[in-house]
């Protein structure tokens, strides 16, 4: 399965070309294997040259990812992949830059760099593997863990109110917000394609199962028995429908989302039609964040929730420089060193 040496690609990239010679060290059963597989499957389809792809990660189980991709990659420091990637993209706008991070790496120590990258809208892809736990350090709670969670560092229950990652990203004015899951390969692949295609900072939250330290955190969304009732798969232009037999729909009553039974004579025409470009409605969708044990809870949304086009930082940076040079000409080092007022002593 592993190729043992770098292959020089005169022919188009295949998934095999993206596999490294390093043993993959994630725990057996880890959700990361699936994500790795989908990424290796999708990348060759995107029309990129392998040498133009860079993976940058922080610290965490998620962040071992670059070692398993036969591309340029950096395993950096905790929380800082976003900052490093910003500098890389700013200086090399033509590269395809992918940031691999986790719920701790991006939303705890890395929270600050995360929101700034989103507002600057560098054209990079952020894959956040959310397993709602700190896996690599063996089981402390994370900023996305639920209240009251019993973990190594919270033996009497976590006191923290968790982040809502998608709502946070909307608050930071992200131009692309999406969610998928490790256990739906077809959906994940499609989300990866959309993430790459979007020109701007693409944020994809991926629910990932840590079977050792937080097994089952997302089973309610990924298991066959509960998935159809608990997940809302949105698609642009399609009505919001879910349920075992697609019998439930969502419409807006003013700004309040209401679940309706389509069997009760409700027409799909009355339903909320998903519009990726509608920011306010997207904000509402990110707020479908209820605890499933609550009655009348909203289903969890998956898919591309929001997508807008906004100028990208690295492009504006290049343009500003090009603009200045076209007006003033290229810099002359001798003129710079001499300055405007100089004198000669003979």
């Amino acid at each position: 399965m592993n190729t043992n040496e770098n292959t020089i690609l005169d022919k188009p990239m295949t998934s095999k070309d993206l596999v490294t010679d390093q043993d993959v060290r994630w725990c057996p059963g880890c959700g990361d294997y699936s994500i790795l597989k989908q990424v290796q499957t999708v990348l060759p389809e995107l029309g990129l040259k392998r040498e133009e792809i860079v993976f940058i990660s922080g610290i965490g189980c998620s962040s071992r990812f670059p070692y398993y991709m036969e591309t340029f990659g950096m395993h950096s420091i905790h929380g800082r992949a976003t900052a490093i990637a910003s500098g890389l993209k700013a200086s090399r706008p033509e590269l395809s830059v992918w940031i691999i991070t986790g719920d701790g790496d991006a939303l705890s120590i890395g929270g600050n760099h995360f929101i700034h990258l989103l507002r600057r809208n560098f054209d990079v892809n952020i894959l956040l593997f959310n397993n709602q736990i700190y896996g690599l350090t063996k089981g402390q709670y994370s900023p996305t863990s639920e209240e009251g969670k019993i973990t190594k560092s919270t033996p009497f229950g976590s006191l923290d109110h968790p982040f809502n990652p998608l709502a946070l990203s909307m608050g930071a004015d992200a131009t692309f917000v999406a969610r998928s899951m490790d256990r739906d390969p077809v959906h994940l692949k499609e989300m990866l394609r959309r993430t790459h295609k979007h020109k701007g900072a693409s944020f994809l939250e991926i629910y990932q199962n840590c079977n050792v330290f937080n097994d089952g955190a997302f089973f309610i969304y990924t298991d066959k028995e509960t998935k159809k009732l608990e997940t809302l798969m949105v698609e642009h232009g399609k009505p919001l429908i879910f349920g075992d037999k697609n019998e439930k729909g969502i419409r807006l009553d003013g700004y309040a989302p209401v679940i309706v039974d389509l069997a009760d004579g409700n027409s799909t025409n009355d339903l909320w039609i998903h519009d990726e470009k509608d920011r306010l409605k997207a904000e509402i969708l990110t707020r479908f964040f209820d605890n499933p044990i609550n009655e009348n809870h909203m289903p969890r949304v998956f898919g591309v929730i929001y997508s807008e086009d906004r100028p990208c930082y690295e492009e504006m940076l290049v343009n500003q420089i090009a603009d200045t040079i076209s007006k003033r000409g290229n810099g002359n080092l001798d003129a710079l060193l001499k300055g405007k007022e100089s004198w000669v002593i003979s």
Partner: protein
């Protein structure tokens, strides 16, 4: 009006006023004119920490000192000959710096009851009238009123008019020292090109100040300070931060790499950002990051991509960057980290100078993480030192720390500028694409300098991963092997040590090769030591001066130099840092002279200690 003219070899003037009085501008204008006139000079801006402390208070006093002359000038002056005091607080804060018999030029309008109270003199205690200034030559004018009188028909508001007081005093001092005002008129023309009425009024006030000298009925001496005999060449005036920025541009041009500057505003380093962000014509990409850590991380990302990643800060910001510096050590990528040192610890004294981050630069990372350290010794030397730091970073694939400090970063002096052609070349070569699949690319294979190749994304066949975890020799794969780790720690140390083979040998700045005392300095103590030793030798001392630019690794011959002297004296603006390195590495009982007052050494302080040690 009677006028006496006196010829002087050197003069030190201190302009002092409230932060809002424009004394920095006055000082800088006088500096530029004096430089163009041909004097040697050295300046010392003395800012308060707050943007606008309450008007009239001691905390709000802003000063600018310039020492200029027809002789060699190396320091801004231990004490001043002339003190311009725009208000009572300015006088109170600075009178101790004025020499006996010195000249005070006071703005009487700044000595009203309110100012007297705020300054701490007390409302009943006006120093201008109570006789306490008898041992000085006191000249007092109502500069505010004179300024207003010259602009009665300008149509400007009183507030706008009062703001140009600094032009009045500038014009007057120009008259006093026989300087031309044209240079400042050109400056005003450029600065206010779009505001005709402000432009006209400023020029009017400048001229009024000059003519006031000519027409005042006060008996005043005018002074001539002839041009200095400087080393023949082409000169310009330069400030340290400006020189640093220029060196970064020059180095990237000579090396043929793009310059990326990721940074966060912090006193006293922000001017480097201001300068570089203006230089877009050189393709410089500046990035004001969200915090200090993002600043250095963005620079690391840029270096990974094949640009020259650079960043600058001061003490507290450098502390934040520590973890990322360790990453850069492991990644072995070119990176320039500039520390414009200021008073510490913690927030410390943001606008005061110190050189107390040396040990932080040498040791301040987790694990064994050696980084070369280079220090600049004067505003002009910021160029040479920064250029050297860039060369080492780029040619040895390593982060490098450049130490300057607030004093030379904001100070100015005439600088013999180089031509682009004369600058030493910087050799950078990216790893070429692989043409065959046989040889596996080894990202950590080392050359004769023990540096690894710079293989940048976008290069076919060189795909590899690097990171902060310990890595196997040559392959760069993660390795926890015990032998490998020890090997790699020692290899990284050897790489930095080997830089000593590529830097110049240490020379003496002055004095004999063998003598009783050697003064060993680093950083901005240069001027004070140089001047102090001239004074010491005049008193019969046999003393030499060596000044380090390369602090880590040391030049190869440093030990042999030190062993030629009975006593090694190390003056530092800290509690003893270089001295620890010297003692540790060479086992000599060096003696320290420490000043930790947020102020540079006076030449006389160095002289006194040398005289004491020479007995």
């Amino acid at each position: 009006m009677a006028e006496k003219k006196e010829l002087l070899e050197e003069v030190t003037i201190r302009f002092a006023g409230d932060s809002g009085d424009g004394m920095q501008l006055t000082g800088m204008q006088f500096t530029n004119t004096t430089a163009l006139f041909g004097n040697d000079l050295s300046t010392f801006p003395d800012y308060p920490a707050e943007i606008r402390a309450p008007q009239g208070t001691l905390a709000g006093v802003s000063g600018f000192q310039i020492h200029f002359g027809s002789i060699d000038i190396h320091t801004p002056g231990d004490e001043c000959d002339v003190l311009v005091a725009m208000n009572a607080a300015a006088l109170k804060a600075n009178i101790r710096l004025l020499k006996q018999g010195g000249i005070i030029i006071a703005n009487t309008d700044g000595f009203d009851t309110k100012n007297l109270r705020l300054s701490g003199y007390g409302e009943e205690n006006n120093p201008l009238t109570n006789g306490t200034l008898e041992k000085y030559h006191l000249y007092q004018f109502d500069i505010t009123k004179l300024t207003r009188n010259s602009l009665t028909e300008s149509g400007l508001t009183t507030k706008e008019i009062d703001r140009s007081k600094n032009m009045f005093i500038l014009g007057f001092i120009y008259w006093m020292y026989n300087r031309p005002i044209e240079n400042s008129i050109n400056f005003l023309n450029e600065k206010f090109s779009k505001k005709q009425d402000i432009l006209d009024s400023n020029i009017k006030v400048l001229k009024a100040g000059y003519h006031f000298g000519e027409t005042t009925e006060t008996f005043m001496t005018r002074y001539d300070v002839k041009k200095a005999k400087m080393v023949p060449g082409a000169y310009r005036n330069i400030m340290g931060n400006q020189a640093t920025a220029y060196a970064m541009i020059a180095a990237s041009q000579k090396a043929g790499v793009n310059l990326f500057y990721g940074t966060y505003p912090i006193t006293p380093a922000s001017d480097i950002l201001h300068e570089l962000s203006k230089q877009k014509v050189f393709g410089v990409k500046t990035f004001q990051a969200e915090d200090e850590i993002a600043a250095i991380c963005s620079a690391i990302g840029a270096s990974f991509g094949g640009s020259f990643g650079t960043t600058a800060s001061s003490g507290p910001g450098i502390a934040l960057k520590t973890e990322a510096m360790g990453l850069a050590v492991n990644l072995e990528l070119p990176l320039l980290i500039i520390n414009v040192q200021r008073g510490g610890p913690s927030t410390g004294l943001p606008t005061k100078t110190e050189q107390s981050d040396l040990l932080q630069a040498i040791y301040g990372r987790n694990g064994e993480a050696p980084i070369p350290v280079i220090a600049a010794s004067s505003p002009g030397d910021c160029f040479g030192a920064a250029y050297a730091a860039c060369r080492i970073a780029l040619e040895h694939m390593t982060p490098v720390i450049l130490l300057t400090d607030g004093y030379i970063a904001t100070g100015a002096e005439p600088w013999q500028y180089p031509t682009a052609e004369s600058l030493p070349p910087i050799h950078v070569q990216f790893e070429k694409p692989k043409t065959n699949a046989e040889e596996k690319f080894l990202p950590y294979k080392r050359d004769e300098k023990l540096s690894r190749p710079w293989a940048i994304p976008g290069t076919k066949g060189l795909e590899h991963r690097i990171g902060g975890l310990e890595k196997q020799h040559e392959t760069g794969n993660i390795s926890y092997d015990p032998e490998n780790h020890e090997f790699m720690v020692k290899m990284r140390a050897a790489k930095v040590d080997k830089i000593a083979d590529y830097i110049p040998l240490q020379k003496l700045d002055s004095g004999n090769e063998k003598a009783k005392v050697l003064v060993l300095g680093w950083g901005s103590t240069y001027g004070s030591i140089k001047t102090g030793l001239i004074q010491a030798r005049a008193e019969g001392c046999d003393v030499s001066h060596a000044h380090l630019r390369y602090v880590f690794p040391f030049p190869k011959n440093l030990e042999s130099i030190l062993k030629n002297f009975d006593t090694v004296l190390i003056p530092e603006m800290n509690n003893g840092q270089l001295i620890k390195l010297i003692r540790d590495q060479f086992l000599i009982p060096a003696i320290g002279l420490n000043k930790i007052k947020g102020l540079p050494f006076n030449a006389s302080e160095i002289k006194d200690k040398v005289v004491e040690l020479s007995k």
